[in-house]
């Protein structure tokens, strides 16, 4: 079984993705990770306005069978969290790169992106 790894974003080994556009970094969980976790039932988010350091834990995602920590792909301030997840956590399973996004960051430095995995590198690790 092969999992989707879009080319327009970067990845962490801990299976978060980030897509940056106009300085706003949208963060979510990869297709591989949502499949491993199974049915997502709960996400614990940081507060909007909280500052996150690159690779710092920012929250927790729970499926019926497992609990997993979430890490920030880059440093920045949280500008939004995906409120839809509260009522529809299954969005993370159904559309991990779209409607199932988790939060948005005001990216401090796009240089951070060079420290994390390219799509090819992430594919290699999960292939």
């Amino acid at each position: 079984m092969s999992f989707e790894v879009p080319d327009d974003r970067r990845y962490l080994e801990t299976h978060e993705w980030i897509h940056v556009e106009d300085g706003v970094g949208r963060v979510g969980l990869t297709d591989f990770a949502q499949d491993e976790l199974g049915d997502v039932v709960f996400v614990e988010f940081p507060a909007v306005g909280e500052h996150l350091d690159q690779e710092a834990q920012f929250g927790v995602i729970e499926s019926i069978k497992a609990v997993s920590d979430l890490y920030a792909p880059v440093s920045g301030e949280v500008t939004a969290v995906n409120d839809d997840i509260e009522t529809a956590p299954e969005l993370v399973n159904e559309d991990p790169y779209g409607a199932g996004w988790l939060l948005e960051l005001d990216v401090e430095s796009e240089d951070d992106l060079t420290d994390i995995l390219t799509p090819a590198e992430y594919r290699e690790r999960t292939g």
């Binding site: 079984m1 199974g38 049915d39 039932v41 709960f42 614990e44 927790v60 729970e62 019926i64 069978k65 609990v67 509260e86 299954e90 399973n93």
Partner: protein, 360 residues
């Protein structure tokens, strides 16, 4: 020690199952998603490979007495074709396991201990038989029989249609012998999901034929766990454990399966408990805040005093609310009592709730 495998292993692999280690067996944890499998059982029918469950045959002139003296209920009250739930306790009244036992004939019983307990229980039955000088054979047939649970509102009809006998005509906790697609099998109207349904015990090597014939959603141990939790059923080794969490049947809230008018190992201790009352017992708990309660989480009073531990918990797929089982002092065991459950250091509001969580 290598993990034991079900005779249906290849069927599951082909169907794309994920596997998990459970009680020394490598069994499917899910085929599709736990949510889908759970819903299939609540709304239609689902089938579970539960070949990891033990099967022990007890036969002979003293079979009924041996069964009666090693289980907390009263197997002598059963007519052939009837079954009952019971606990298996030691001298101290501590639950070693729980089981469903069936009277197959005047002098013939079958009982189903939990995964990984079959050898222990076979030894227990044989050593007590020797000690008491009883005349009955005890055969562990766990590796000669598969077990398939078909559960849900449509389950009985599905199995009845595939059977040569009147499976739909047997009542709850009753059993019969039939043939399914030409395979001789023991069929009981029992289960672990809170739904109507049956458990089919075919010979090991013919399990694949039965599994394929009973066409419905395949379900793994993940959905089995969420379904049994909604029904408030205990999981041996997790909601009680002879060393890690020793409990008598009253503490574990299965006092209905104790018949103090019979003589069984642990009776004296349990009669003492019945008279004195328990200090703590298993209750259903519902979180009133967001979070997922899990095994080992601390239960507190609203004031923050630790008073117990969660033994099982999940996000209920049917109720869409976090539910748990756990032990609390009887002073905090009444439905509606406010509690807290500590989820990763954060106390979350909770309250005692009557089980089953899901009324059927």
């Amino acid at each position: 020690m290598s993990l034991q495998r079900s005779p249906l292993r290849d069927h599951h692999e082909e169907r794309g199952a994920r596997f998990t280690d459970f009680g020394g067996w490598e069994m499917p944890v899910s085929f599709d998603s736990i949510r889908e499998e759970h819903a299939a059982v609540r709304e239609g029918a689902g089938k579970f490979d539960v070949s990891h469950m033990g099967e022990i045959e007890v036969e002979g002139p003293d079979a009924a007495e041996l069964m009666c003296r090693l289980t907390t209920n009263d197997p002598t009250s059963l007519d052939p074709g009837e079954g009952q739930y019971a606990a298996i306790t030691d001298e101290a009244g501590t639950m070693l396991d729980d089981t469903v036992l069936y009277r197959r004939g005047e002098n013939r019983f079958l009982f189903v201990p939990n995964a990984g307990h079959d050898e222990e229980m076979t030894d227990r039955w044989r050593s007590h038989r020797e000690r008491w000088g009883l005349d009955a054979t005890v055969e562990n047939v766990t590796r000669e029989r598969a077990m398939i649970a078909v559960q849900g509102p449509d389950a009985v009809g599905l199995v009845a249609d595939a059977s040569t006998d009147d499976v739909a005509g047997i009542g709850r906790f009753e059993a019969t012998e039939t043939a399914i697609a030409g395979v001789e099998a023991f069929v009981a109207r029992t289960g672990y999901t809170g739904e109507d349904g049956v458990e089919v015990i075919p010979p090991w090597e013919a399990a694949g034929t039965v599994w394929s014939t009973l066409a419905c959603q395949p379900c793994g141990l993940g959905a089995r766990d969420t379904l049994r939790l909604e029904a408030g059923f205990l999981l041996s080794g997790q909601d009680f454990h002879p060393e890690e969490n020793p409990r008598n049947p009253y503490e574990a809230d299965v006092g209905f399966a104790v018949d103090l008018d019979t003589e069984f190992v642990g009776r004296e201790a349990i009669a003492g408990v019945a008279e004195a009352g328990v200090e703590g017992r298993l209750v259903g708990i519902e979180l009133t805040e967001r979070g997922v309660p899990r095994h080992g989480y601390t239960i507190e009073t609203p004031g923050g005093e630790a008073i117990g531990t969660v033994t099982s918990g999940t996000m209920s797929p049917t109720l869409e609310t976090p539910i748990a089982l756990g032990y609390v002092p009887v002073t905090h065991a009444d439905p509606g009592t406010d509690l807290r459950v500590v989820v990763r250091g954060e106390p979350k509001g909770a309250r005692v709730r009557e089980t089953p969580f899901l009324e059927r």
